[in-house]
Amino acid sequence: MSDPDAMPDPIDKAYVEAEAVLNDEAARTARRARVLAAVARQPDAAAPAARSRPWRRGGWLVAASVSGLAFVVAIQLYRPSPLPPPIKLPAPPASPAPARVPTPPTKAAPRVERPRPAPPPVTIAPSPAPPPAAQSVAAPTPRAFPTVEPAPPPPPPADSAASERAAPVQPANQPQPANGGVDNRDAMTQVVVTAEKRESPRRSVPVAISAFAGRARDVADPGARLRAAAAAGRTAEMEGLLEHGAAVDSPDAEGDTALMKSVQADRPAAAALLRRHGASLDQKNHAGESARDMASAKGDAALDQAIGLSP
């Protein structure tokens, strides 16, 4: 019933008694005093863990808050511009004359084609502003996603082919136009655009974050790339940029040009290349310094020679 291994054994007793025989009480007393004194000397013998917990919790909260805020900011930065509500055009038949949908039989073909030619559906640029007249007609705008919810395939209406195409993307809570064949087609095109923009938020987040950091703009800006290449001494890249028309004296937000960057970074080859392409030695940044001033302050003979300050 009882496990013999878990029961006391004469061997155990022998060991304990042997320890008792060899016990040095004086040494133990001294050890006790030493250990308790050492524990008492610990500045935060009892409190440290209690104190560190809130710190850790606070740190975690701060980290979570910062990352959450960054995410929200990123999302906000890349918030698709409000699309023309898909239901603007499909005015109910009794609606007071939206002048833009005059000819139902022709399916308002010119109207449908207009919004789309310039911006492709996936473009990030703000889509053409909806005609203000439509606002008055607009029903409560449904959120974008519900509009792409796959509605149950409606029974094919007998009246028109256009309504067949429009029906699957019709929002469930949106009033069905009674004769809506023509207008529904227009609404569908709008919904498709909306869906495409809404379908790619995850892809857009890094772009938005980059934009937030100002990098996306820089990447697109040849002048910024030229300055970056100059600071890093990447002359081959600089030549390519200059050949493709990058402005040699394009300043950054502080007024520094590529030449100034190359001087600051002590890149004689890059500076010489920029000078060969006509970079100005005397253009000043917002601090009132020119590349010439910077080079003079550095006193680097190779650099001076590269930019032509010394023979």
């Binding site: 291994d5 006391p8 061997i11 155990d12 008694e17 042997a18 320890e19 133990r28 250990v35 863990a49």
Partner: protein, 193 residues
């Protein structure tokens, strides 16, 4: 151990709350077995480190008292866990190879009948020293299991907790330790008789 109505965890909580005497009471409960555990694990070759490691163990206990969760393990299991880590850290620093004990099946077959054990009492300091020497000659984990069980009064479950092994493993270690000691003690009897 001295009768002390306060629970170990309560004393530790009181220490966290700033009760200076609570820690001393806790220390007095476990000072001897803890020190012996460290001292015996170290063996005679590293005996000089015992005092320091013992002190480090109690400082660690004090520092981390607020993190102790009595729902997870007993205080004694936690204390011996810390002490054991201190010893192993010392061995690591001293570049001492800690080898796992070999299988003890052969030793088990040589165990005399426990009822015939010669040691009912330790009568002389010399004999006590030989017993301690025999204990220190045990494989490290077996030694630790024996000291925790015999001297500190830990259960097999607590020993398993403290050493991070299954209860069966802790039980085996204790059994092997006893078996080896019986072998040695049987020899002692033949010498003394």
């Amino acid at each position: 151990m001295e009768p002390d109505p306060a629970d170990d965890a309560e004393l530790l909580s009181a220490h966290c709350a700033g009760d200076a005497h609570a820690f001393a009471r806790l220390y007095d409960r476990y000072d001897r077995p803890c020190f012996r555990f460290i001292r015996r694990l170290l063996g005679s070759a590293h005996a000089d480190a015992a005092e320091d490691l013992h002190q480090e163990t109690w400082i660690a206990i004090s520092r981390n008292a607020a993190a102790f969760d009595p729902g997870k393990a007993s205080f004694s299991a936690w204390l011996f866990t810390v002490a054991r880590h201190k010893v192993f850290d010392h061995f690591r620093r001293a570049k001492v190879a800690v080898l796992a004990g070999a299988g003890d099946d052969a030793a088990l077959r040589l165990i005399p009948d426990p009822a015939a054990s010669p040691l009912e009492a330790v009568e002389s300091r010399d004999l006590a020293q030989r017993i301690i020497t025999a204990v220190e000659a045990l494989p490290l984990e077996q030694r630790g299991a024996l000291i925790m069980f015999a001297d500190a009064g830990l259960s097999l479950e607590e020993i398993a907790d403290a050493t991070g092994v299954a209860v069966e493993t802790a039980k085996s270690r204790l059994r092997y330790a006893r078996a080896k000691l019986r072998q040695v003690f049987a020899g002692e009897r033949s010498v003394h008789v």
